[in-house]
């Protein structure tokens, strides 16, 4: 036996283990009576909603009994509980139709995570030290109430800020209502990869401040600019379901996918034609297509309607976007431009998408407007196979918009700037709800330093992360499987959708649902709200909202709970996969007419941070298929899931073109330093054929410092070294506009872990 085993043999552990102890264990363990009536071994299926991204896919959860370690009245023991075992896509839910992405499959690990926050906590050490002590819920709620009372007493209600993720839902509505009635500003909704620019463009082009929905299943030709719509962008499962139909289930027509981007994404890997182009020039290509279409008389200029008004030169046939000029600006050959244009105009239904890095440039708004106009030109707005907007769910009882308009609230950038600028911090009390801007913003914004100026921070999040570690008070929320959940998805369906689901299992820990805690706090405030909130519990609010929705028969609330939500029908025939969709009215006739808040735009060169000589490469951070924007790096299944394009697990890497790598003396796996003007990081190199000579790409998601045992101290975070460049109209972070230099600093050190390493299908970078 080896030394380690010998040492272990001579140690006696005193822990009263449950299943893993010797002797006759069961006699030592207290067993509690189950809270539920359980028939062992039988599975029940309950609906829920995935919270991991804005798509809000519907879930069916398999629930069975398990022996859980619990504490009851201070006593440790074991109890049979009904617990969630597996998440599946809900077959009838109109967003995902039974499908589920890998992240949604892994979401169940949130509930069972060993590092989950289990009790309310109060900071006991220095701020950010991670030292907390356990307190009771009464103490925690009491502390929060007293802080809010102090604000109200001093007429400082404006100094309350609420920072959360963007999840259009009644839950978000509740938060907005609370803040409004308290007298505080609207919530700050933070998402690193959120297409504010696209929403704004849609507002200008179509009068809809909303992400688009694509009827890909009936499309014959899909032209995508930068949008990883099969992987992480917008509503990926809905788009993937439709993509499958587009390929092999559209009445014998096989749709074609053309992907235009500067780095081969998961979606680009599936394209029939992959077109790399110069960063920040996507709109030029789109208008180049429009130019040819107009020039060749394939459509008339007026076909584009008001969407074209946002672009300069439309009326004159877009003279600045000739194929030759497009070639010069984008790198796409003139011949190719002409062919694409003819295909796009003739292989109808044709639709164009844009999202992700093209919009994360300083000229991103132009690209979005150009693509919108192109769609309008070929008549694919609101027609089968084209672009739609998910109808809103009407609710007579809602007094505030569930969807907070993208430009309305303060952003994290302005929050940080305000906190740095003022002598007296303009935010006295900050409430955190799962958002992690300390991780997911450039260090140049100095968000951590800004938040350190806030006198009191309370977090409702389920985990300690880089942002919630700064909290003074922790009031941990249930996981989604233990809560009432709801969603009002902004995109992904052609019908209005309002998802709702009851908890599928009882709470494992001493956590409480955030909306209920909020309502409890409201009930205890010394000064009542300007208008009282009529509910004591969140599910009362949900019931009221859902009961008012129209249903063909029965009770709307009961129906909604049973099937996981309420959704409308398409006007006319029932929606079936192959049948043509009834024509919905073009958005511009039913919504606010497009307002030209900017004068007609033309292409301006994108601005990059870092001069081309000192910083020769464009840095492209992109959402990881496994850990998305970093918010999922704590889930072990996702860390171990091989990245589809590289097969990398538990790793960060930088994608470099093999020729570039050869020139710089970089071999596969070598440690490379990536430096911008705002910081540097080190990470192993992965030689990629799918990236240009002047671009390097790093997946976002690793590089956490304090985010559970699985994510902490692993990899590098490319967002931290980004330049604080923004798109000027919306203020959105231009996260694709940073230039870097690349230097080899060491041999491969085993940090890059590839599942395909050594297998014959590994990409050989030398060939």
């Amino acid at each position: 036996m080896d030394r380690r085993t010998f040492i272990k043999l001579t140690t006696v552990t005193g822990a009263t283990a449950t299943l893993a102890s010797c002797g006759n264990p069961e006699n030592q363990i207290v067993r509690f009576i189950p809270d539920d009536d359980i028939v062992p071994g039988i599975a029940a299926w309950k609906p829920s909603i995935c919270p991991l991204c804005q798509a809000g896919c519907g879930l069916q959860v398999r629930v069975m009994d398990a022996d859980a370690d619990v504490i009851r009245d201070g006593q440790r023991g074991v109890m049979k509980m009904l617990v969630a075992k597996k998440l599946e896509g809900h077959p009838q839910y109109p967003i995902n139709h039974g499908g589920l992405c890998p992240r949604g499959q892994a979401a169940i690990q949130i509930t069972y995570h060993p590092d989950r926050l289990t009790h309310p906590l109060k900071r006991s050490g220095a701020r950010g030290s991670g030292e907390f002590q356990q307190i009771t819920w009464d103490e925690a709620v009491g502390e929060l109430v007293s802080r809010l009372d102090t604000l109200a007493d001093g007429n400082g209600q404006q100094a309350l800020a609420f920072l959360s993720r963007r999840r259009p839902s009644r839950r978000q509505e509740l938060v907005s209502e609370f803040l409004a009635r308290f007298g505080a500003p609207p919530p700050i909704l933070f998402e690193l990869f959120d297409d504010h620019v696209l929403r704004h463009a849609n507002r200008l082009s179509f009068g809809r401040d909303q992400l688009p929905t694509f009827d890909l299943g009936r499309a014959r030709y899909v032209l995508a600019f930068g949008a990883d719509f099969l992987g992480t962008w917008n509503s990926p499962v809905a788009q993937s379901v439709a993509y499958g139909r587009m390929r092999q289930d559209n009445g014998g027509i096989r749709g074609k996918l053309v992907q235009v981007e500067s780095r081969m994404s998961l979606t680009g890997a599936n394209a029939d034609e992959w077109i790399p182009l110069r960063a920040g020039s996507d709109g030029v290509l789109a208008l180049g297509l429009a130019h040819v279409i107009l020039r060749d008389g394939l459509r008339s200029a007026t076909a584009a309607g008001p969407a074209a008004g946002a672009l300069a030169g439309w009326g004159e046939g877009l003279p600045n976007y000739t194929p030759e000029r497009v070639e010069a600006l984008t790198g796409v050959s003139a011949a190719r431009v002409q062919r694409l244009a003819r295909e796009f105009a003739s292989e109808t239904p044709a639709v164009a998408l844009i999202g992700g890095s093209p919009l994360a440039q300083t000229n991103g708004l132009f690209h979005a407007l150009a693509v919108n106009a192109l769609n309008a030109l070929v008549g694919s707005v609101g027609t089968p196979g084209g672009v739609f907007f998910t109808p809103a769910v009407s609710s007579p009882t809602a007094s505030a918009k569930a969807v907070v308009p993208s430009g309305a609230a303060r952003s994290v950038a302005t929050l940080a700037a305000d906190l740095h600028a003022a002598q007296q911090p303009p935010v006295q009390v900050l409430l955190l709800d799962e958002a992690n801007p300390v991780f997911a913003t450039p260090r140049a914004w100095r968000v951590r330093e800004a938040l350190e100026n806030v006198p009191f921070i309370a977090s409702f999040g389920t985990f300690i992360d880089e942002t919630s570690i700064l909290a003074d008070l922790i009031l941990p929320d249930h996981s989604f499987l233990e809560s009432w959940v709801d969603a009002l998805p902004e995109s992904g369906a052609l019908v209005p959708v309002a998802g709702v689901a009851a908890p599928v299992m009882r709470p494992l820990h001493e956590t409480r649902a955030m909306p209920d805690v909020l309502l409890e706090v409201v009930g205890k405030l010394r000064r009542p709200l300007t208008t009282p909130l009529p509910w004591k519990r969140f599910d009362e609010m949900l019931r009221q909202q859902f009961a008012a929705l129209p249903v063909p028969e029965g009770d709307a609330w009961t129906r909604a709970q049973a099937q996981g939500g309420w959704w409308g029908e398409l006007p006319g025939a029932a929606p079936a996969a192959g049948s043509p969709a009834p024509r919905t009215a073009p958005p511009s006739s039913s919504a606010v007419p497009p307002r030209q808040t900017v004068s007609p735009m033309q292409f301006v060169e994108p601005q990059f941070d870092g001069d081309a000589s000192g910083y020769p490469f464009n840095l492209l951070p992109y959402p990881s298929q496994t850990v998305y924007d970093g918010s999922l790096a704590h889930l072990p299944w996702l860390q171990e899931m091989p990245d589809p394009l590289t097969s990398a697990m538990w790793s960060s890497w930088v994608e470099i073109n093999p020729q570039t790598a050869a020139r710089l003396g970089i071999a596969q796996g070598d440690v490379v330093e990536i430096a911008s003007q705002h910081g540097s990081l080190r990470t192993p190199a992965w030689l990629s054929p799918g990236i240009g000579l002047d671009t390097v790409a790093i997946p976002v998601g690793q590089g956490h410092q304090s985010f559970t045992r699985y994510a902490s101290g692993r990899g590098a975070n490319p967002v931290s070294i980004l330049a604080p460049l923004t798109e000027p109209v919306t203020g959105a972070l231009a996260w694709a506009a940073t230039r870097v230099r690349v230097t080899r600093v060491g041999d491969a050190n085993g940090q890059l872990i590839l599942f395909a390493g050594g297998m014959r299908e590994e990409h050989d970078p030398t060939r």
Binding site: D69, G244, M649, P689, G757
Partner: protein
């Protein structure tokens, strides 16, 4: 007539997203080995997405292929097993019986698809992650081989249910975890002995081919190649 289980994978629908990989982990109690062991090539993925890069920038293409145990009718892993742990069932599955397995790993040696995985150590779940474990699937211990079973627990469960209901199993009633999760419906499972089942029809597609067909393993997974644009 006995069932003969098979799958069809439509590579024109597969997006490479990897939902099948995680779904399989969730359903089949597959251990997460951690970064150190993964670096020693000990990660276990019963189904994996392979990617094949063709060409050089800018004329670059990628092809994805999900690969799982092909449940070969002439499986090379079966004759080499000294304890009959790897053997063929009457309904066409290549069964792996964990309690017979003594861990010679000859089956993995023989398998041309690299779909068999060895448990180098006892898997561990940091509590309460273990509450997610599927009670219908064994927890494997150190020293045994494991691989895709076509979610045999779901097959057996459906067979028992159908027998109790006194009916036959409908096509599409059994979905392995991978097929159920797949958003683009690229993975189809069913009875190859039923000529009208979806998997049978897809297997007859002119785009269909088998993986390493000339090795003679008679795999029961048909891959439908991406349709080429004219």
């Amino acid at each position: 007539m006995a069932n003969r289980w098979g799958m069809a994978v439509d590579l024109d629908r597969c997006t490479g997203c990897g939902a099948c990989v995680t779904a399989c982990h969730a359903e089949n109690n597959i251990a997460t080995v951690g970064a150190d062991q993964a670096a020693r090539s000990r990660a276990i993925h019963w189904i994996r997405v392979e990617r094949y890069w063709e060409g050089e920038y800018p004329d670059v293409k990628v092809k994805f292929r999900p690969v799982m145990c092909q449940q070969c009718d002439a499986a090379p892993c079966e004759p080499v097993c000294p304890t009959y742990a790897s053997h063929h069932t009457a309904d066409g599955l290549n069964a792996q019986v964990y309690n017979r397995c003594i861990g010679t790993r000859y089956c993995a040696n023989a398998c041309p698809y690299n779909v068999r995985f060895f448990d180098f150590f006892n898997p561990a779940w940091e509590k309460p992650l273990h509450l997610q474990l599927n009670p219908d699937v064994s927890i494997r211990e150190v020293g045994v081989m494991e691989k895709c079973t076509f979610c045999v627990q779901r097959i057996r469960g459906a067979q028992i249910q159908a027998k109790g209901d006194k009916r036959s199993i409908a096509d599409g009633e059994i979905k392995p975890a991978c097929a159920q999760a797949c958003p683009s419906s690229a993975l189809v499972f069913g009875d190859l002995n039923n000529p009208e089942s979806a998997v049978s029809r897809l297997s007859r597609s002119p785009r269909g081919s088998k993986l390493l067909e000339d090795v003679g393993t008679l795999p029961k997974v048909t891959y439908l190649s991406r349709q080429i644009e004219v």
